[in-house]
Subunit: 136 residues, 4 copies
Amino acid sequence: MLSSSITYRVPYADTDQMGYVYYANYLTYFERCRNELFREIDFPYTQFEEIGIMLPVVEAHCDYKQPAKYDDLITISATVTNLKGCRIRIENEIFNQQKIMLCRGYTRHAFMSSETRKPVRPPDVLMKKLETWNKE
Amino acid sequence: MLSSSITYRVPYADTDQMGYVYYANYLTYFERCRNELFREIDFPYTQFEEIGIMLPVVEAHCDYKQPAKYDDLITISATVTNLKGCRIRIENEIFNQQKIMLCRGYTRHAFMSSETRKPVRPPDVLMKKLETWNKE
Amino acid sequence: MLSSSITYRVPYADTDQMGYVYYANYLTYFERCRNELFREIDFPYTQFEEIGIMLPVVEAHCDYKQPAKYDDLITISATVTNLKGCRIRIENEIFNQQKIMLCRGYTRHAFMSSETRKPVRPPDVLMKKLETWNKE
Amino acid sequence: MLSSSITYRVPYADTDQMGYVYYANYLTYFERCRNELFREIDFPYTQFEEIGIMLPVVEAHCDYKQPAKYDDLITISATVTNLKGCRIRIENEIFNQQKIMLCRGYTRHAFMSSETRKPVRPPDVLMKKLETWNKE
C-alpha cells in the first residue's frame, strides 16, 4: 500500500477559542501529508501541474475523535486506498504525541486536465508508480 | 424545518493557485451559516458559551460539485436535519450567483459542557426553540 | 478621497485560543474591503486580472488596539492615500459594533503585469477613475 | 542575540490564485518560528499560559520582496531585538531554498495577564532566560 506520514507542530493560528484546532484545518493537514506522499514516489504534485494535470478534491470526510491542541506535535498519515479511472481515494489518520487518534477521514480526487478542466486518465508514468507501490 | 441562509463574497484569501476556493474553506462557510441559524432562533452561539455549552464538530462531510471562484457571491444554506440526545446534524448547500450548486455537505455536533468537556443534553430552552422551529 | 467600507461578522474560524481574532486575519479583512473599494469605482479586481494586471502586496502594516471577538459585527474601511507610478497605498481601519477602533494599518501594492510579472503603470482608464474619485 | 529558525514546506492551502503564498500567511509563518524560539530557551508558550501570561501582538509589519510558492521549503528566522518593560519585539526573515530573501518583518507584543487582560511585567524566570540568551 502506498502510504506516507509526516509530523506537524500545531501553531496558535490553527486553534479557535474553544482551545482546540478549528475543524476545517484538519483538511489542510490531510493536504500536507498528500504532498509528501506524492513526493515520496518521485512524482511531487508540482510535476502534476507541469504536465498539465490538476487533482481537485471531489469529496472530503472527517470523523473527529479527540481534539488537537496548540503546540501538539501531531502525526498525519495518508494512504492511497483506491485508484481507478480518473479517480483516486486517500485515507488519512492523525495522532498526537501520546499516540491518541485525533481523527480519521478521507479525500477523493479527480485527475483533471488543467487546460480543458475536464477529467483525464492519469499519465502512464504516474499510474505505474502508484500501482507498483500499491502492490508492495 | 429550521433553516437559514446567508450570502458571502469570496475573497482572494480563500482561493488557491488552482484558481478556485481551497477545499477546507467550504467548512468555514458552513460555520458562517450555522452562526446565523442559531442567531435567527434567538439563541446565538455566544449564548451557548455563556451557559457553559460548546458544540464541537464530531463529523464533517463535503461533496464538491463545481468550484467557487474569487469574487463569487455565494449563497450558503444550513438546515437542522436531526436532533436527538446530545447530538445535532446540520446539512449545508452552497450555490453561486448563477444558481449553480457548488457543494453540499453536513456537520454533526455534540453538545458538550465547557466545564467538564463531556457530552450533555442541550438546555430545555434551546431544545424547545429547535423543536418548535423544526415542526414548522 | 476614494474610500469604501464593509461590515463583516467574525466567525469562530477567525478566532484563536486567546479568545480573540488571530492577528493575521486582520490582513484578510483589509483585503475584503479593498475588493469592495475597486468594485465601487466599477473596476473590480477581477477586471484587473482580465486585462493582465495583478496587484501584489509589497508592504503590510497593522497596529492592534483592541481585540475583535467571535460574532462581532465589525466595520472595515479602506482609503486610497497614495497613487503614483506603479504603486498604490491603501489605509485601513476596523471598528467594532460599539464604535471602538480595533486596529489600523495599511498595505502598499505594485501594479504588475501578469504576463511578465514586472511592474507596470496602471491602465489609463483605471488611473482616471482613481484620480477622479480622489479629487472628490 | 536570542534567535531561532525553522524550515517549513508551503502547502497548497497557503497559496492564492496569483500562484503565490497569500500575504497574510507570512504572519502565521512568523508565529511558527516564535513558538520554536521560546521552546529553545525552555520556556515554550504553553508555559506562558500556564502561569497566566499571554503575549498578544500589538504591531505587525512585513515587507514582501519575492513570493513564496507552493512546495517551497522556506526557512523562517526570528530574533528578539528589544525587550523592555511589558513589551518584546521580534524580527523575522524568510528565505526560500535558493537562499533568496522572500520577506522581512517584525512583530511587537505586550505581556498581558490572562486574568486581568492588562499589561504585566514578564516573570523574572523568563526575563533571566531572555537576558542571558541575548548577551551571548
